[in-house]
């Protein structure tokens, strides 16, 4: 017998042990106590002004890829604020464990804190900040999705996101160094070289899953003749899931370790791999928590670094990619650092046929993976991909098969979208493009 169509469409409730067990431990008293502590000790003028100013006009709706993909009001930024912060403030914290669970789901899996809605609100209300504060409350109550909580635990135990042990880290670097020496015999990944110009830092998943990126970075650094080093001790990981769970104390420890490692090595600046959220944490959020208006040691994102190397002629392009490519502007380095024009310079320098996706630059739609959403893990994957059909449409409209995305989370998120919507596309980092296009000086070749 056929199953009625409506039955098929019914979604199973997603069970996340972190939320279920966290909520089961809660009492009304504890919720009220924690919320009131956050309201009095942590929230102040900004939150009050945002909540009092919002005129409930709904103009932020079309900023949000969740709303554009689902089309119903509970996905709009203001709809999410209504379901969480308005209720919390109106009831002065007298909300149920079930409410906290739902609030955690909304703030952690239905918002990428991508800040596009700030650009659509006539008042510029920072909805991402409001959602981050909801996450903060949920964190203090111990109701955070399990997978991302696990990465936060990893940060606290190892100072990296992926439970990478110190010897494994060093071993991975030496392994990649050995591999790369087959191509470039004089190549070194200098560990803990004091006084180097640049400290190169990456996110935990690079040694864990994408070690070839370290290989490629070493090739690039050597070809460009850069004086660089990578730390041998904890502090090598610039990523930060604690920032996204609302565990700001932990975020502070991670960032302090990262900056102190760079300070110990007396480098002139930190260059970060192609990651968006880590950049947000080091450049914008973590430094503030530590009391620095701007990062205490200059930090630049890999794309800006490549741009500068190309501009200064330290690397040269031997041949351009012939296949048409498109570029995805990651939130955290575009709305977060305005690197969009530098990235376009890079694309045009390395590719013959560049097809823009629309909207682009600051207006680009988020990948739906960032902001910790992909880190909430497999239970939430289907929802995450279904919540970004607008991205699939945007990618498909370019008609190209290569999408450059200089951000780890964007990569993961876009690959899931590409596979689910069968877009016949694949993603590349800029370093992948450079490896195919840049000139390797003869003297360095094996």
């Amino acid at each position: 017998m056929a199953v009625p169509a409506t039955k098929l469409k019914e979604k199973k409730e997603i069970i996340d042990v972190g939320l279920e067990e966290g909520a089961a431990r809660l009492t009304y008293e504890r919720i009220e106590q924690v919320i009131n502590r956050v309201i009095t000790a942590e929230m102040a003028a900004r939150m009050k002004v945002y909540v009092d100013t919002c005129i409930h006009c709904g103009l932020c709706s079309t900023a949000c890829h969740y709303y554009l993909s689902h089309g119903t009001p509970e996905w709009a930024p203001v709809g999410k604020v209504k379901q969480t912060m308005w209720e919390i403030l109106e009831k002065k914290g007298k909300v149920s464990p079930e409410f906290i669970k739902r609030a955690s789901i909304i703030a952690s899996t239905e918002c990428n804190v991508c800040r596009r809605c700030s650009m659509y609100c006539p008042y510029g209300i920072d909805v991402a900040y409001i959602m981050a504060t909801v996450r903060r409350i949920c964190h203090l109550l111990g109701v955070t999705p399990q997978y991302i909580q696990d990465t936060a635990h990893s940060h606290s135990a190892t100072m990296n996101q992926m439970w990478v042990k110190e010897d494994e880290w060093i071993d991975t670097l030496q392994w990649q160094e050995g591999e790369a020496q087959a191509e470039m015999p004089s190549l070194r990944i200098a560990l803990d070289k004091e006084g180097a110009d640049i400290m190169y830092s990456v996110i935990g998943p690079e040694p864990k899953f994408r070690a070839q990126l370290i290989y490629q970075a070493a090739i690039l650094m050597t070809a460009a003749g850069v004086d660089w080093t990578m730390p041998a001790s904890p502090g090598w990981d610039n990523s930060d899931m604690a920032m996204f769970t609302g565990d700001f104390e932990m975020m502070g420890r991670i960032k302090r370790t990262h900056f102190e490692t760079a300070a110990k090595l007396r480098v002139k600046k930190i260059v970060m791999g192609e990651c968006g959220h880590a950049f947000r944490s080091v450049y914008d959020v973590g430094n503030r928590w530590l009391g620095w208006k701007m990062p205490p040691i200059p930090v630049i994102h890999a794309t800006q670094f490549y741009y500068e190397l190309l501009k200064e002629g330290k690397i040269k392009i031997a041949r351009k990619l012939k296949e048409p490519v498109t570029l995805h502007d990651p939130c955290n380095i575009v709305r977060g650092r305005g690197l969009h024009e530098m990235m376009r310079y890079l694309v045009n320098a390395t590719c013959e046929n560049f097809v823009e996706m629309y909207p682009n630059r600051e207006q680009n739609h988020c990948c739906c993976a960032g902001g910790g959403v992909i880190n909430c893990g497999p239970p939430w994957k289907t929802k995450r991909v279904e919540s970004n059909s607008i991205k699939a449409e945007q990618l498909a409209a370019t008609g190209v098969h290569i999408c450059i995305a200089p951000c780890h989370n964007c990569h993961g998120g876009l690959e899931d979208i590409i596979n689910t919507y069968k877009l016949n596309m694949h993603t590349m980092f800029f370093i992948d493009v450079l490896m195919k296009t840049m000139e390797i000086p003869d003297a360095l070749k094996a």
């Binding site: 900004r46 002004v49 006009c57 709009a76 209504k82 650009m119 659509y120 006539p122 503030r288 208006k293």
Partner: protein, 219 residues
């Protein structure tokens, strides 16, 4: 009747201005002190250049992407806000009152234009009310208070329009008009109408963060 009229345009008006100005100042000053006490760092990020850049892009019609994507709403909001602010200030009958009381006068709108502008404000309020009913994403976040704000805003214009045309008993309508205007002014500091003042600060802050720290456009 005369007694009531004298009262609403005399002592009650004074009280209104005291509450409106005092209340608004209180909101702004207390917010400033709260900011200074708990989020002092915000001041370090404020930039005049990027504040003005952001404000300009949001007070010029169609200067932001969102405004271009919603032309009807953009036209309605701009026309509404302009008429709302300009009509009462440049209405001849209001200037006459200023002249009588304070010997102050300035250029006045021709009455027929002011008439149309009042209708525009009323029409826009009706439009916003319908919008709240019709668009699901707006309806979802609309509460009674949102309609109340619209009613408070439209009331001085409805009563003013009726008083001017003298279709209903003039004196009563005039008193109602004054009361409605006073109610609106008093409501500003205590409702979301405070956005009239907060707008400049939220925009300036967001503009400063986007421009100064993030090197990105916020429109």
């Amino acid at each position: 009747m005369q007694g009531i009229y004298e009262f609403v345009r005399g002592p009650l008006l004074w009280l209104t201005f005291i509450v409106f100005i005092g209340g608004s100042l209180y909101r702004l000053i207390s917010m400033y002190y709260l900011l200074k006490k708990k989020e002092r760092w915000v001041f370090n990020y404020m930039s005049l250049k990027y504040s003005l850049r952001s404000i300009l892009h949001w007070i010029i019609p169609f200067a932001s992407a969102n405004m271009r994507q919603r032309p009807i709403m953009t036209v309605m909001s701009f026309v509404f806000h302009i008429c709302l602010l300009v009509t009462p200030v440049f209405l001849l009958s209001h200037i006459v009152l200023w002249d009588e009381s304070w010997n102050l006068s300035w250029w006045a709108l021709p009455d027929w234009i002011a008439d149309i502008m009042a209708l525009v404000v009323i029409g826009a309020c009706v439009f916003f009310a319908f919008r709240r009913q019709i668009l699901p994403e707006v309806k979802y976040v609309t509460s009674v208070a949102d309609y109340a704000i619209l009613a408070i805003t439209a009331a001085p214009f409805i009563t003013g329009f009726l008083a001017y045309h003298q279709w209903i008993e003039y004196r009563t309508m005039l008193i109602l008009h004054i009361l409605a205007g006073e109610a609106m002014l008093v409501a500003i500091p205590f409702t979301r109408l405070i956005h009239m003042f907060y707008f400049w600060f939220t925009r300036a802050y967001t503009g400063s963060e986007f421009g100064g720290v993030r090197h990105a456009r916020d429109w």
